[in-house]
């Protein structure tokens, strides 16, 4: 539908205005009476559509892991400069966000740890390349070995250790700014099982 914005109702208070804009979207909302026979399930339809797309997911993960590897090699060739740092961060960040949707949730935690290392080291020139290597190799290995029966257990041990080493490094690098440190060390806002 094409939104037609009517003039909003504005109430002025001391130093601000409260605006009640017209809501053109209300026309697409209807109440379903309690007990009504409603077999329409848009969530189930969307899940089915996603399941039909899922055969492509492992190919997409291949591409994302390849992109991460290329970004890692660019860092090693050119050092950490703004562009190489950004490319590596975004490659890791995309894997963190997509891995669970693609069916590989255990990959996300290692990618998340790499994101933390890249984002919270105040001087990017001090990011240890060997720790970057270990993260990238871990992401790729966890994905590659995902079919193994012990893959998730091994991934958890590996990722926890990477996270410990990364947190120790970040504590050291941010020791002169405790307020920032408090914001990055501690439990993540998102539950661990999906982070």
């Amino acid at each position: 539908m094409s939104p037609k914005i009517e003039k909003p109702v504005v109430t002025t208070y001391g130093d601000y205005e409260m605006i009640l804009p017209d809501n053109p979207l209300r026309k697409v909302v209807s109440e379903v009476p309690f007990g009504a026979d409603d077999n329409d399930d848009p969530v189930a339809r969307a899940e089915k559509a996603l399941a039909e797309l899922s055969p492509e997911f492992s190919g997409w993960m291949d591409e994302e892991c390849e992109r991460l590897d290329l970004a890692r090699h660019a860092v090693k060739a050119k050092g950490f400069v703004k562009q190489t740092h950004s490319d590596l961060f975004h490659a890791a960040h995309d894997i963190k966000g997509e891995a669970a949707t693609f069916g590989f949730p255990a990959v996300a935690s290692a990618a998340d740890s790499l994101c933390r290392l890249l984002e919270h080291t105040p001087d990017i020139g001090k990011i240890p390349l060997n720790l970057v290597d270990q993260h990238v190799d871990a992401v790729r290995a966890i994905y590659r070995e995902y079919a193994r029966s012990d893959a998730k257990d091994v991934a958890a041990v590996l990722t926890n250790r990477l996270r410990e080493v990364t947190d120790d490094f970040l504590v050291n690098q941010n020791r002169h700014r405790p307020e920032y440190l408090n914001g990055i060390i501690g439990p993540p806002l998102v539950p661990a099982d999906i982070a």
């Binding site: 094409s2 969530v43 797309l53």
Partner: protein, 181 residues
């Protein structure tokens, strides 16, 4: 319970990752939406927003040229474009408290931490369609009301006395961000 006629809604998806755009398009089509437009960065997203006039914007945070936060700030410019009140749902891998607060302060309507699911996306869409919040305009903010609940222990001056929209009962953005995607 409410029913949404998704076939009457027009969406704009702004994400630099082609895979995530495909996922979102698939989910939206699954809900019943026909019109889904895509843009791969903030600049193209703003252009598409002004051209297609979507009913709802789904945007990633981290993108080239300008990011989802900057896109939100540009859309929330009264008078600068056709619909500064458009619902904006930010989908992002950033889930830290300061990030959620920054998204809220930029004027984002809903925040959805990745990984996303059909259910979590559906819930956010239903909320922005069925339960729109008033907008607040101050010297340095224009966007959906950031107050979603009442703090009975609040001590201080009450700046909204007498208004009919004093209380907007919705789950706090921080709490929603904690909800599994």
């Amino acid at each position: 319970m409410v029913r949404i006629e998704f076939n009457r809604l027009r969406f704009l998806v702004v994400d630099d990752n082609a895979h995530m755009r495909r996922i979102l398009r698939t989910l939206l089509h699954g809900f019943g939406t026909r019109e889904v437009y895509e843009a791969e960065d903030g600049a193209a997203g703003l252009e598409s927003f002004n051209h297609f006039m979507p009913d709802i914007v789904l945007t990633d945070w981290a993108m080239p040229i300008f990011d989802g936060l900057e896109l939100t700030q540009m859309i929330r410019q009264p008078g600068a474009n056709g619909n500064p009140y458009v619902p904006i749902i930010m989908l992002t891998g950033h889930s830290e408290k300061k990030r959620v607060m920054a998204a809220r302060d930029a004027g984002v309507t809903e925040f959805l931490a990745k990984p996303i699911s059909a259910k979590s996306l559906y819930q956010r869409i239903v909320n922005v369609v069925a339960n729109p919040r008033p907008f607040i305009k101050t010297k340095n903010y224009f966007g959906p009301d950031r107050r979603r609940n009442v703090n009975p222990n609040y001590v201080g001056p009450e700046r909204r006395r007498g208004g009919r929209a004093d209380v907007i009962r919705q789950q706090a953005l921080m709490d929603k961000a904690k909800t599994p995607g």
